[in-house]
């Protein structure tokens, strides 16, 4: 269980997060929505350890991780992806995923034996690639994939670390609209199988409604609403924040 309590973060004079609290239960899939500049990515950075809060507390399974480094948090089981895909562009797709598995198993320091001879890690990497529909690209370089596939690979790499808690920053941005649901199907199926708790930043309300059990709306550094997608979407204030007043009738 991830507990975030009363965290505050300012950049100089700009106050970005003004006391946010929430909890995420094991196995829960929660989405985080909000207008641009609401502080969504900052919140992710605070949870992953790339930023530290000015005050407040973050705990994972009851253990305080407020001041733990990103590396420590990964070892504890908090893994994230990035809004702008970060792949090992000159390594093959297989190596991209297999590196994650080597890292998880603590085998990265091994040398002399070729990586291909690690049958178990290679097999697991292939399973993950198949799960994410990337198996046919195993020998392509990461940089050679289409934008959509890159995005899927990015999520597959976060997934390969088998974390307790997954932070996905816009996993479908840059994916063609027609493919968005297909990509989300793949991601959500994989996550549900392992029961990983997940926080997803997402702009597309249809995806939020279809794929997540709970939605949190962040606006100007505060949580405006927190509940099931249907409840939250019917809230008048949320509609005004997310869609603007003029669209109120349309939704």
């Amino acid at each position: 269980m991830l507990e975030v309590s009363e965290i505050v973060k300012s950049f100089g004079m700009t106050r970005v997060i003004l006391g946010v609290s929430f909890t995420i239960e094991p196995g829960e899939i929660v989405s985080l929505v909000g207008p641009n500049g609401a502080g969504k990515t900052t919140l992710i950075n605070l949870i992953s350890g790339h930023l530290f809060p000015d005050s407040g507390r973050i705990a994972l399974s009851g253990k305080d991780i407020t001041s733990a480094s990103p590396y420590r948090r990964i070892k504890r089981g908090i893994v994230r992806n990035f809004q702008v895909t970060q792949l090992f562009e000159e390594l093959t797709v297989l190596d991209n995923v297999r590196n994650c598995i080597f890292s998880r198993n603590g085998q990265l320091r091994r040398f002399l034996r070729p990586a291909d001879s690690y049958k178990e890690a290679t097999g697991e990497a292939m399973e993950i690639l198949e799960l994410f529909n990337l198996a046919q690209f195993r020998d392509e370089t990461g940089g050679g994939l289409s934008e959509g596939d890159k995005k899927v690979l990015d999520t597959a790499m976060a997934f390969a670390l088998k974390s307790q808690f997954l932070l996905l920053d816009e996993p479908t941005s840059g994916v063609a609209t027609a493919d968005k649901f297909k990509v989300m199907d793949i991601i959500i199926d994989a996550i549900k199988d392992t029961g990983t708790a997940t926080l997803i930043i997402e702009h597309d309300m249809d995806i939020v409604r279809d794929y997540t059990q709970r939605v949190m709306v962040l606006n100007q550094g505060l949580i405006l609403a927190n509940g099931t997608p249907d409840d939250v979407m019917s809230d008048k204030e949320v509609q005004e924040t997310l869609f603007g007043v003029s669209n109120q009738d349309a939704s």
Binding site: P70, Y71, I74, K75, V79, R80, N81, F82, Q86, L87, F88, E89, E90, L91, D95, R98, N99, C100, F102, S103, R104, Q107, L108, R109, R110, F111, L112, R113, P114, A115, D116, Y118, G142, M157, A158, L161
Partner: protein, 283 residues
């Protein structure tokens, strides 16, 4: 270091460390001067020096890394040059013909030693090094090093401690360079501080650029080509530096992937004829 995505301008330092380990051993313990002991000393000392320098250098990236590695190698140069009493200063050290696993080459002239047994020792050393490097490149460690090059951010995020792995890469590279220095010292028979100079480090960088740094075999091809090019240029004109410099400009502008990179993109062009690759090899 190419697999870490960092450019070192100070590899002369580890070359010199290897060579001077041999030299100092020859100077102070002539009775124990055997090939295997000299190589062991060279490996150990280049490990220590590259671990120390690497520890400082990996704190920086890109140009800062290059400059710091250059500065530290000039430190080695200064020590070798100024410590006349211990290292012979600019006079350098003469290297005797070593024993090889108890076998003595007494009475053999250096030229015969080099053309005969040492040629095979060198060839063996080269083959072993290449195989070892190839193994490392394809191992999990090698993949991790390449990962830190491609995306530092992502590497951190999958639990690779980027600085530490850069350090490993630096030390591995330093040890191989030290080995090269030691093997070379027997060939030349005389070592001077100039090998730790930045000019020498620059030559290493040039070899890598010439051969191409995106292909494993690139630096090997580059080293061969460079040696022939330099010999040829020196015999043709006293302005041989001009030829070397000219080819460098040509390389940087027209063949950024070096000779092997050029061959590779030409090969791809012929196989696939993809216009995208044509653009990238021209641009």
């Amino acid at each position: 270091m190419r697999y870490c995505g960092l450019l070192s301008f100070g590899h002369g330092a580890y070359f010199a460390t290897g060579a001077y380990s041999v030299g100092l051993l020859c100077m102070y313990f002539p009775e124990h001067f055997s090939f295997e002991l000299a190589i062991a000393a060279a490996l150990a000392s280049s490990f220590v020096v590259s671990a120390l320098f690497g520890f400082l250098c990996v704190r920086n990236t890109r140009i800062f890394f290059s400059i710091l590695s250059l500065a530290l190698s000039m430190l080695i140069f200064a020590i070798l040059y100024k410590a006349y009493y211990y290292t012979g200063g600019s006079d350098g050290i003469r290297i005797a013909i070593p024993t090889f696993f108890g076998h003595e080459f007494e009475g053999m002239r250096r030229i015969h030693f080099l053309l005969g047994p040492y040629y095979y020792i060198l060839l063996g050393g080269f083959v072993i090094s290449v195989l070892l490097m190839l193994a490392i490149v394809n191992s999990p460690l090698g993949k991790a090093l390449q990962a830190t090059r491609d995306s530092e951010l992502r590497a951190e995020m999958i639990g690779i401690r980027v600085r530490r792995y850069r350090w490993y890469g630096f030390v591995i590279s330093g040890i191989f360079t030290g080995l090269a220095g030691a093997l070379w010292s027997f060939v030349n028979g005389h070592i001077t501080p100039e090998i730790s100079d930045w000019v020498f480090s620059g030559e290493i960088v040039y070899m890598v650029l010439l051969g191409g740094f995106m292909v494993f075999e690139g630096p090997i091809v580059g080293a061969l080509l460079f040696t022939y090019l330099k010999l040829y240029a020196i015999t043709v004109t006293e302005y041989w530096m001009l030829i070397i410099g000219g080819t460098l400009v040509f390389l940087v502008l027209l063949l950024p992937g070096g000779v092997t990179g050029g061959i590779q993109s030409l090969y791809r062009l012929l196989i696939r004829g993809s216009p995208e690759l044509r653009n990238s090899s021209e641009g």
